[in-house]
């Protein structure tokens, strides 16, 4: 079973929840850090990394001897990655989505491909080898998170238990990270910002047709808006995590939720079973 941990708003505790799910389990689990702009899972899981690989995207190279400067490639490119002013085109690799269109429309067969590095994947083991950690990291200055996320996901086996730490928001990187999950846990906080962004996230997972429930972090710190909304919308609240200053301090030093609030271990251990039962009933 693949559980994605997501949220509209950043900083609500996605990584905290995803790490707690992986660490509370006694089964083998894959932890996939798809928050590739700011991957933080490894800070808490401290994996021993045994392999790294680059994330390469294919970008065009123009053979200037063959190029007739017709400009068809530049006119075709929807991402402005090629610019031609009556000359062989200039390539802006950071804008390229690697769709292959320029080579398809080139009448002179003047376009070939080269790899452009936009990020890195690292593979590691944590908790005595039980937790496999796959982390994607987008290079600073690179624009495109989705190809890095796709490559992280290519390392997740189709069966077995896996947890996906998603990026915040509701746009393309989140959709890429959540896709093919069996279940989504939406982490929020009980504040007006938390509620507003939770609604966006709920609309997104409903649009994608995925089963989900909500985790309220620091539930005793704000107001009742999130709980009232969930009750109106008939959304199950899977866990309420209390606010403890000691937890904030533990977290600040790289400690996990299970270190900061030990009674959460049993709660998080049960979550995969509860989810599985819920999915089977449907």
């Amino acid at each position: 079973m693949r559980i994605a941990v997501a949220s509209g708003k950043g900083g609500t505790g996605k990584t905290t929840v995803a790490v707690a799910l992986a660490m509370a389990s006694s089964e083998p689990v894959v932890y996939a850090d798809c928050d590739v702009e700011e991957p933080n899972g490894s800070i808490f899981l401290r994996p021993e990394v045994y392999k790294t690989e680059k994330v390469l995207v294919e970008v065009p190279v123009i053979n200037e001897e063959k190029c007739t400067s017709c400009g068809k490639c530049a006119r075709f490119c929807r991402f402005n990655a090629l610019v031609s002013l009556g000359t062989p085109p200039l390539v802006f690799p950071e804008l390229c989505h690697s769709c292959g269109g320029c080579a398809i429309v080139c009448p002179a067969d003047a376009i070939s491909w080269t790899g452009n590095t936009i990020g890195e994947i690292s593979l590691g083991k944590a908790d005595g080898g039980r937790v496999s950690v796959v982390q994607g990291k987008l290079n600073v200055g690179s624009v495109l998170a989705p190809p890095v996320i796709r490559q992280v996901k290519s390392h997740i086996p189709h069966d077995g238990f896996s947890v996906i730490d998603c990026p915040p928001g509701t746009s393309c990187p989140v959709i890429e990270a959540i896709g093919e999950s069996d279940y989504v846990l939406l982490v929020t906080e009980p504040t007006p910002f938390g509620l507003h962004d939770l609604k966006l996230a709920v609309n997104t997972v409903r649009e994608l047709g995925l089963p989900f429930s909500v985790v309220i972090n620091r539930f005793d710190e704000g107001d009742r808006g999130v709980e009232e909304y969930c009750s109106q919308e008939n959304i199950h609240i899977m866990v309420k995590i209390p606010h403890r200053r000691a937890m904030a301090e533990t977290y600040s030093r790289g400690g996990t939720l299970l270190d900061g609030i030990p009674e959460m271990r049993e709660v998080f251990k049960d979550i995969p079973r509860i989810i599985e039962r819920g999915i089977e009933e449907k």
């Binding site: 702009e37 398809i104 600073v140 200055g141 509701t170 507003h196 994608l208 301090e249």
Partner: protein, 290 residues
């Protein structure tokens, strides 16, 4: 016109709460919310929308099933696995995976794929009690957030010159990817809000690298600094090493949450240490802009 962009790398460090305070303290500014994925600034500023404009960007491929012959060339050429087989053995485009590259439209031998413009969201021009504001809403599961950010910044700059405002204050998105890059390129100054946690420190370093990459000067605020004073000191040291400037600390204060619940900025809600710190920080930011 000068432009300040408030960003953080890590989400939830207090960007929007602090941007709201800056809006309250600033004179003659225009405001913009570039966190178009999950915009929250409007919840503090209660904008009265004056005009709304559709945001149309890029195109989306749509197969006309009646004309599709089921040859499958589109599926073969699509690099985004966005083409699915229908129960009738024809093909359709999954809009969530489609990046609008037009390759399928080009290769379809019977020209059975349309390519209509994509309605991705809308943007607004509004009035708030602290001045004009430009903000936006990206449609659910939409692409092109970077382009919407660029639109918000461009429209805010145009309004600033029309209304003789000499400062644009931008609430930026989290992360370091496409919408963040679209928010910071060409800005006068970045204000990075971080928190004294290993994650906050890690993410701040990546944001400062990004600032350097795009040659935008950056100032750093440590919010909730008293959660971990040692980490705060480390972050301030790292800030200097990264070529940026620490400009202040703000203590953890539950009044931030209370202010949010009341739909106000902290400086309107209360007085005390956090408000004093923010006021001093704002004065420093203004001096840096000169």
């Amino acid at each position: 016109m000068k432009e300040i962009v408030v960003i953080s790398g890590k989400g939830g460090t207090g960007k929007t709460s602090i941007t709201g305070c800056f809006a309250a303290l600033a004179e003659n500014a225009i405001l913009a919310d570039c966190d178009v994925d999950a915009a929250d600034l409007h919840m503090l500023l209660a904008p009265e929308i004056i005009s709304r404009t559709d945001f149309i960007s890029g195109n989306e491929a749509v197969v006309r099933e009646d004309d599709c012959t089921g040859c499958g060339i589109c599926r073969e050429k699509c690099k985004f696995d966005a083409i699915e087989v229908t129960p009738a053995g024809k093909y359709r485009v999954n809009p969530y995976s489609c990046e609008g590259c037009m390759v399928c439209v080009e290769v379809c031998p019977v020209k059975a794929i349309d390519f209509p413009p994509n309605h991705c969201g809308e943007w607004y021009f509004s009035h708030t009690r602290f001045g004009p504001m430009v903000h936006a809403r990206l449609g659910i599961a939409q692409e092109n957030s970077g382009k919407l950010v660029s639109t918000v910044r461009r429209e805010a700059a145009a309004k600033a010159s029309e209304l003789n405002r000499d400062l644009l204050i931008v609430d930026g998105p989290p992360g370091i990817g496409c919408p963040v890059i679209a928010s910071i390129t060409g800005a006068s100054l970045l204000v990075v809000v971080t928190e004294p946690t290993i994650s906050g420190k890690h993410d701040m370093k990546r944001v400062l690298e990004l600032a350097k990459h795009f040659s935008v000067p950056a100032l750093v605020i440590v919010n909730k600094w008293d959660i971990n004073p040692e980490m705060t000191a480390e972050i301030e040291k790292d800030t200097v090493l990264a070529g940026a400037l620490p400009i202040g600390r703000i203590p953890y204060d539950r009044a931030f949450t209370v202010a949010q619940i009341n739909g106000r900025t902290l400086v309107e809600e209360t007085t005390g240490e956090a408000v004093e710190n923010i006021t001093t920080i704002w004065e420093k930011v203004c001096r840096k802009l000169k």
